[in-house]
C-alpha cells in the first residue's frame, strides 16, 4: 500500500482569496518531459505513488484505468501519454497527483513533482503564443522565477475538456 507522500488539506476558498489579495498564489510544480508546469495548489488533494490500477476496456490509452482511493473509485490519467512526452515507465518513483476538482476526484501521472511555489503577481506573465505540449487554451500564464519558467495551467479546465474523455461527451 502506498502512503501519501504529502497531504495537502483543502484550503478554504477564503484563504485563497486572501493569498490573491496580497498578490501571491501557491502552485504545485511538476515536470512533464522538459517542461515545468504549475497548478493551483488548492486543486491538489494529495500526492501518491502509482499503484494497482484496473484497466478499463476501450478507454483511450492515456486513461490508465481506475484505482481505489480509500473506497472511492478514481480514474488515473497519464499526462505523459496524453501529451506524448518521453518514455513512460511505472516504477516506485512514478508519481500520481490526486486532484480534487469541482465535481470529481482524478489522479494524474506526471514525470516528477518538484515543489510548492508562491508566486507574487509580478512573477506571473501573460501566456504567450508558444508551443507547449498542453493546449494553450488551458495555459493561464507564465511564472518566471530566477532561472525557472513555469507553465501555469488551469487544471480544472484541462481535465474537464472533451478530449480528456473523463466526462460523458453528451448525455445519452
Amino acid at each position: 500500500m502506498n502512503q501519501p507522500i504529502t497531504a495537502q488539506p483543502r484550503a478554504e476558498t477564503g484563504q485563497h482569496a486572501l493569498a490573491e489579495a496580497v498578490g501571491g498564489r501557491e502552485f504545485l510544480t511538476f515536470r512533464l518531459g522538459a517542461e515545468e508546469y504549475g497548478i493551483d495548489i488548492l486543486k491538489v488533494q494529495e500526492i501518491r505513488g502509482y499503484d494497482a490500477v484496473t484497466r478499463i476496456a476501450n478507454a483511450p490509452e492515456f486513461i490508465k484505468g481506475v484505482t481505489n482511493l480509500r473506497g472511492t473509485i478514481v480514474p488515473i490519467v497519464d499526462l505523459r501519454i496524453k501529451f506524448s512526452l518521453g518514455n513512460v515507465d511505472y516504477d516506485q518513483f512514478t508519481v500520481v497527483i490526486i486532484l480534487n476538482l469541482a465535481d470529481r476526484v482524478v489522479g494524474i501521472v506526471v514525470d516528477s513533482v518538484s515543489d510548492v511555489l508562491s508566486l507574487a503577481a509580478e512573477h506571473i506573465r501573460p501566456a504567450p503564443q508558444f508551443g507547449s505540449a498542453v493546449d494553450t487554451r488551458y495555459v493561464t500564464g507564465i511564472g518566471a522565477l530566477a532561472e525557472r519558467m513555469l507553465i501555469l495551467v488551469d487544471i480544472e479546465q484541462l481535465m474537464s475538456g472533451a478530449d480528456m474523455g473523463l466526462v460523458d461527451a453528451t448525455l445519452q
Partner: protein, 710 residues
C-alpha cells in the same frame, strides 16, 4: 424574540404527505353504504391536522382547501349528512389538489389555483345542499331567519362599511359594540350583531371575514340563550379572539379580569367542577346555538367510540422513530462497505502468517468477520421499507382506472410488510403501476363478459410480495381472461417476429415483453400504446431482477417479478480473463461449464456457437470484449459462463472462475464516466478495483452489435 417558523416547514411537509396518503387509502377503502365511524373520524383528523399545520405555518392556499374539506368531513362524521360516492371523488380530488400545493411549497412544480378554486366550490356545494337537506329539511333555503353574528374586528379594520353592507341584506341590529378601552387603541374588541336575512351563511361569512380577526367569527341561527349571556359565559365570549382563560390564572400579575384582558383573550370567573362530565356541563355552559350543542354530543359519542378501538392508521409516533436523511444512511452504508473490504484484506494478509500467533489472530479475525457482517446487515436494514409504500398507491389507481373502463375490480394486497431497499422501492413503483394497469385494461373483462363466462361480475387483481431465498418476489395476478396463445402468435407473426407453433406456452407468453408488442385490440389511454411491457421488463432487469409470466386461458394471468433485496450489494462470481478479474452478477448466470470440443461450432464468418442442452448459444470471448489477451488459446480450454438477460442467452468465455463474493457496488460515474458493458465497480479483498459486468448490455450487444455505441 423572533422565531423563524420556516425551520418547521420540512416536518410539516412530511407529516402532510403522510396525512394525504393516509386519507387517500382510507377514502378508497371506505364503504359509502356503511361507513365506519372510526374511519370517518380518521379521515376527518387527516384533513383537520393538515389544516391546522397549514394555517400555523402560513400556507393559506392549503388551509383554504383543507378548510372546505374539513367542513364537509365534519358534517359527515357527525352524521349530519351521509357520505356519497361523489363526495369521496371530491375528497380524493381535493387530496390531489393539496398534494399539488404541497409540491409547489416544496419547490417542486407549480400550484394550480384554478383547480383549488374548483374543488373548493365543489366541496362547498356538496356541503351546502347536503347539509341543508340533512339538518334543515323543513326550511326552504331562501327563507329569512335571524342570524347571530359575533366577531372581533381585526386591528385597523373599519366596521362602518361592513355594517352598511350587512344592513343592505336585511334588518340589522347591533347587539353589542366593542368597548373603547383606555390606552388600548387598536386592540380588537368583540362585535355582536343580529341580522334578519334570507342570504346564505357563506355570503355573510365572506363579508364579515374581511374585517374580522382570523378565527374570531361565529355565526348562529338560534338566539343565544339567557344562560350564555350570563356573566361568566359572556366574559368568555368577549374574549373571542385567539385565546382566553376559563378562570383567572394569575391574579397578581394580571389583575385585569375577564373583559379587561383585551380583545384577544379573557377569563371565565369560575372554574368548573374538576370531575364535570360533558353532560353535566351542558346546561350551565349551553352554547349559543342549539344545533352545535347536539353536534358536540354526537362528536363526543364518536370520540368515545374511537377510544374503544382506534386502528391508529396514522403511524406518526414521535417516540419510536426518527427521521434521518438518506444521505446520512448512505454514508454509513459506505463506511460499513469499507469496513467489509478492510476486514477481507486483513483476512487475506493473515493467511500468510504462520505459527502460534496465527491461531489467535484467526480467532479474532473470524469474530471480526461475524461482527462486520452483522453490522452490515443492520445498517442495510435501515434503508429497508415495507412494500406497502408502493402498494398503497394502487387502491386509488385501481379505483380510477376501473371506473374509466367501466369494470368492477377489487384489489387485494398480500404481504405488504415485506421489506426491501428504498432504492428498489422507488424503482419498482412505475413497472408495477404499468402491470396493474395492464391487468385492468387487458386482463379483467367487462362485467357482462365475466357474467357470460360464468364468473362474478367483479374481477380481482392481487398484489403479493414475499421473500424467496435472497430475493423479493412481487406478483401481479388477475382472474381475467388470461393470455390468448393463438392471438399472441398471430400478432407476433404479423409483426414479423420469428415464431413457430412448436414454441412452449412460456415462450409464447414471453413475446408480450418484446419491444412494440401489444395484445390490446384497441389502443387505450390506460396502458398506453404498447410501449410498456418491454420497458417494464428492461427496467426490472436493470435492477438485477427478472420477470416470469404464467397464464391460464379464461382464468387469469400472473406476472412474477424477482428483485434483489438491495441495490448496494450483489452476489457475484469473480472470473479471470487473462490477468484481469471481472465480476459477473450471479442473478444472470444459469450455469458455468467446460465445453467439450464437439459442442463448439464455428458459424461461417460470424463467430462461434456452443451447444448447451440442445440449444446453440453465441460464444463471446471476454478477452476480445475487453481487449486483453486470454490465456486459453482455444475455446475448448476456456470456461463458458452461460448468462441470460432479457430472454436471450449467451456464453461468455473466460479463463477461470475465481470465487463467489458478496460485493459492495461502487459507481464508476462519480469520478469517471459510464462505461459500456460495465455496470459498476467494486473493491476486492486485496484493495484492487474489479469491474462488474453489465450482462444485459452485453447480451443486447451480442444480438445487435451496432448498438454498443448507442
Amino acid at each position: 424574540m423572533t422565531i423563524d417558523i420556516s425551520r418547521f416547514y420540512q416536518v410539516f411537509f412530511d407529516e402532510t404527505a403522510e396525512h394525504l396518503a393516509n386519507m387517500e387509502s382510507l377514502l378508497v377503502a371506505l364503504d359509502t353504504a356503511a361507513p365506519a365511524d372510526d374511519d370517518l373520524n380518521a379521515i376527518f383528523r387527516c384533513a383537520h391536522s393538515i389544516k391546522g399545520g397549514a394555517g400555523t405555518f402560513g400556507f393559506s392556499d392549503m388551509a383554504e382547501v383543507t378548510h372546505a374539506l374539513e367542513t364537509l368531513l365534519d358534517k359527515i362524521r357527525k352524521h349530519e349528512t351521509a357520505v356519497t360516492p361523489p363526495m369521496v371523488d371530491a375528497f380524493l380530488r381535493a387530496g390531489d389538489v393539496i398534494a399539488g400545493q404541497l409540491r409547489a411549497h416544496r419547490g417542486e412544480g407549480e400550484a394550480d389555483p384554478a383547480s383549488a378554486q374548483a374543488i373548493r366550490e365543489t366541496l362547498a356545494s356538496l356541503c351546502g345542499t347536503q347539509a341543508q337537506a340533512a339538518s334543515l329539511p323543513a326550511r326552504s333555503p331562501a327563507a329569512a331567519r335571524t342570524l347571530h353574528i359575533s366577531f372581533c374586528a381585526a386591528a385597523g379594520a373599519s366596521s362602518d362599511n361592513l355594517l352598511a353592507e350587512l344592513g343592505a341584506l336585511g334588518v340589522l341590529e347591533v347587539v353589542k359594540r366593542p368597548r373603547a378601552r383606555k390606552g388600548r387603541a387598536g386592540r380588537p374588541g368583540q362585535w355582536r350583531l343580529a341580522l334578519v336575512t334570507d342570504r346564505g351563511d357563506e355570503h355573510i361569512r365572506d363579508l364579515v371575514e374581511f374585517v374580522a380577526e382570523q378565527g374570531s367569527l361565529a355565526l348562529s341561527e338560534a338566539a343565544p340563550s339567557p344562560e350564555t349571556l350570563a356573566p361568566p359565559a359572556a366574559a368568555s365570549a368577549e374574549a373571542d379572539c385567539g385565546y382566553g382563560f376559563f378562570d383567572d390564572p394569575a391574579p397578581p400579575a394580571a389583575p385585569a379580569a375577564a373583559g379587561e384582558a383585551g380583545g384577544s383573550y379573557g377569563f371565565f370567573t369560575e372554574l368548573p367542577e374538576p370531575v364535570a362530565s360533558g353532560a353535566d356541563g351542558t346546561p350551565a355552559a349551553h352554547p349559543p346555538c342549539g344545533r352545535r350543542a347536539t353536534d358536540h354530543l354526537q362528536s363526543d359519542a364518536a370520540i368515545a367510540g374511537r377510544r374503544q378501538g382506534d386502528k391508529t392508521v396514522v403511524a406518526a409516533n414521535a417516540d419510536s422513530s426518527i427521521r434521518v436523511s438518506v444521505d446520512k444512511v448512505d454514508k454509513l452504508i459506505n463506511l460499513v462497505g469499507e469496513l467489509v473490504i478492510t476486514q477481507a484484506m486483513l483476512a487475506q494478509t493473515a493467511s500468510h502468517v504462520d505459527g502460534a500467533l496465527m491461531e489467535r489472530l484467526q480467532d479474532g479475525l473470524n469474530q471480526l468477520e461475524r461482527n462486520t457482517r452483522d453490522l452490515q446487515e443492520s445498517v442495510m436494514s435501515i434503508r429497508m421499507l415495507p412494500i406497502s409504500f408502493v402498494f398503497s398507491r394502487f387502491p386509488r389507481v385501481v379505483r380510477d382506472v376501473a371506473a374509466k373502463l367501466g369494470k368492477e375490480v377489487e384489489l387485494k394486497t398480500v404481504g405488504e410488510g415485506t421489506e426491501l431497499d428504498k432504492g428498489v422501492i422507488e424503482k419498482i413503483a412505475d413497472p408495477l403501476t404499468h402491470l396493474v394497469r395492464n391487468s385492468l385494461d387487458h386482463g379483467i373483462e367487462l362485467p357482462e363478459v365475466r357474467l357470460a363466462a360464468g364468473k362474478s361480475a367483479r374481477g380481482t387483481v392481487t398484489l403479493r410480495a414475499y421473500h424467496q431465498g435472497g430475493n423479493i418476489m412481487v406478483e401481479v395476478s388477475d382472474d381475467g381472461r388470461g393470455l390468448d396463445r393463438a392471438r399472441i402468435l398471430a400478432k407476433a407473426t404479423e409483426r414479423g417476429m420469428a415464431v413457430s407453433d412448436a414454441m412452449s406456452d412460456q415462450e409464447v407468453y414471453k413475446l408480450i415483453f418484446a419491444p412494440g408488442f401489444s395484445t390490446a385490440e384497441v389502443v387505450t389511454d390506460v396502458s398506453g400504446r404498447g410501449v410498456g411491457m418491454d420497458v417494464v421488463k428492461r427496467n426490472i432487469e436493470a435492477m438485477g431482477g427478472g420477470v416470469e409470466i404464467d397464464s391460464v386461458a379464461g382464468q387469469g394471468m400472473r406476472i412474477s417479478i424477482r428483485l434483489p433485496l438491495t441495490l448496494a450489494i450483489l452476489d457475484g462470481l469473480s472470473v479471470r480473463v487473462g490477468k484481469e478479474i471481472y465480476i459477473v452478477p450471479l442473478t444472470y448466470i444459469t450455469e458455468s461449464l467446460q465445453p467439450a470440443a464437439n459442442d463448439l461450432r464455428t458459424v461461417a464468418g460470424s463467430g462461434m456457437t456452443i451447444r448447451v442442452r440442445g440449444e446453440y448459444l453465441p460464444v463471446v470471448s471476454a478477452a476480445r470484449l475487453f481487449g486483453t489477451s486470454a490465456e486459453a488459446n482455444r475455446p475448448e480450454q476456456a470456461i463458458m459462463v452461460i448468462v441470460e438477460a432479457e430472454g436471450a442467452r449467451m456464453a461468455l468465455a473466460v479463463d477461470d472462475l475465481v470465487g463467489q463474493h458478496q460485493v459492495v457496488i461502487k459507481s464508476l460515474e462519480t469520478n469517471y464516466r459510464r462505461v459500456h458493458g460495465v455496470s459498476g465497480a467494486t473493491i476486492m479483498g486485496d484493495g484492487r478495483v474489479a469491474l462488474i459486468l453489465d450482462v444485459a448490455a452485453l447480451v443486447r450487444h451480442t444480438r445487435n452489435p451496432q448498438r454498443l455505441a448507442a
